[in-house]
């Protein structure tokens, strides 16, 4: 398989504090869906911020195919826990189209591509509405559509199911399951990651405690207990 992300010996500590992450190494292959599993405070979001270059860390983070750091990030779609961090335009359609317009697309083409991305996220009918009028689940899917519109080589999601009800989780799962792009999803939601991911990384005690197929990891009750997930 072709890797899209290779992380080697990544470590991070906030100034004058003990390390949050130490010696983290893993890869994500093209089209693969990998889950980063960990309890609250295990360092999942910090790991994602390090991968995205938002926090300065030690170790190596390589995106493939290699490109200058500034261009590398433009090939990644990112969705943070709070969709309001992504959605600020007057309508959802404009929120999704903005990334394309910013990359130099013509307005008509950007509008068309944005509508296709919204449709893929099951939100075609919400295109003309402002994000503030959507439910939290819809806003999360709108943020995913905005990330997908630019055809990224990898989608990075931080706690996508946080605060969502059962139906919204099912809708989100269906949208993410149908994607062919590589996905890296940080969450403590065992059921959600179990349904979506082929491989899971378990974070705990500042390090990568285990790595394996979703079935292997979720069947290991002792490991989940040690990681604070049960």
């Amino acid at each position: 398989m072709t890797p899209v992300l290779e992380v080697a010996n990544l470590s991070f500590a906030y100034e004058r504090r003990s390390p949050v992450l130490a010696g983290i190494s893993f890869t994500v292959d093209a089209g693969e869906c990998v889950g980063v599993l960990g309890a609250n405070g295990a360092g999942k979001s910090t790991l994602l911020w390090c991968l995205l270059g938002l926090l300065k860390n030690q170790g190596t983070v390589r995106w493939f195919p290699p490109a200058p750091a500034r261009h590398a990030l433009s090939r990644i779609g990112v969705v943070f826990q709070n969709p309001e961090d992504h959605l600020f335009m007057p309508t959802v359609l404009e929120d999704v189209a903005l990334g394309l317009i910013n990359r130099g697309w013509r307005p008509a083409a950007a509008r068309e591509q944005a509508l296709a991305a919204l449709s893929e996220a099951g939100l075609a009918e919400a295109a003309a509405r402002p994000a503030s009028q959507l439910s939290l689940g819809e806003r999360k899917r709108a943020a995913i559509a905005a990330a997908l519109a630019t055809s990224p080589e990898m989608l990075v999601l931080d706690e996508p199911t946080a605060e969502l009800d059962g139906r919204s989780v099912r809708q989100l799962t269906a949208v993410l399951a149908n994607l062919r792009v590589a996905r890296l999803i940080a969450s403590h939601d065992l059921g959600f990651l179990g349904k979506l991911c082929s491989r899971l990384l378990v974070l705990g005690a500042n390090r990568l405690m285990a790595e394996g197929t979703a079935a292997q990891v979720l069947a290991d009750a002792a490991l989940l207990e040690r990681a604070g997930l049960m």
Partner: protein
């Protein structure tokens, strides 16, 4: 009128600071109120919907539009966070003039700065990753 109160208090505080500092009173408090009124009127009159499709990317109007939308979005976040903090504080200290009430207001307002900073950091990071800050 109730919505105008914070800006009137702010303008009055500016005037008091000038007076207490022994300096002659300037038009700054009045300019503050006028700038607020003009901004609110413009924000309501301008038809924001679909405007991004009508401006040329990279042009001055493109940057001005994004700046206005960023400010509008963050003002909304700040307003929502303020309401949340003040409601939480009112629930914790229902008697306004009893011990601890003033102190809790101080801590609530201090917490607001922390929250606003975190939200601003995440919003900036999200937009930066979309190439908006290039």
């Amino acid at each position: 009128m109730k919505r105008l109160l914070p800006i009137l208090v702010f303008a009055a505080a500016l005037a008091v600071i000038e007076w207490a500092g022994g300096r002659p009173l300037t038009t700054l408090p009045l300019v503050t109120v006028a700038a607020f009124a003009v901004t609110v009127t413009l924000a309501r009159l301008v038809r924001w919907q679909g405007r991004i499709f009508r401006v040329r990317p990279g042009s001055r109007s493109y940057h001005a539009l994004l700046f206005a939308l960023f400010v509008r979005h963050f003002a909304g976040i700040l307003g929502a966070e303020t309401r949340r903090v003040l409601i939480a504080r009112r629930l914790a200290t229902p008697r306004a003039w009893k011990p601890g009430a003033a102190r809790s207001l101080l801590f609530a307002l201090a917490a607001l700065f922390g929250r606003a900073l975190t939200r601003a950091e995440r919003f900036y990071a999200a937009q930066s990753l979309r190439g908006m800050t290039d």
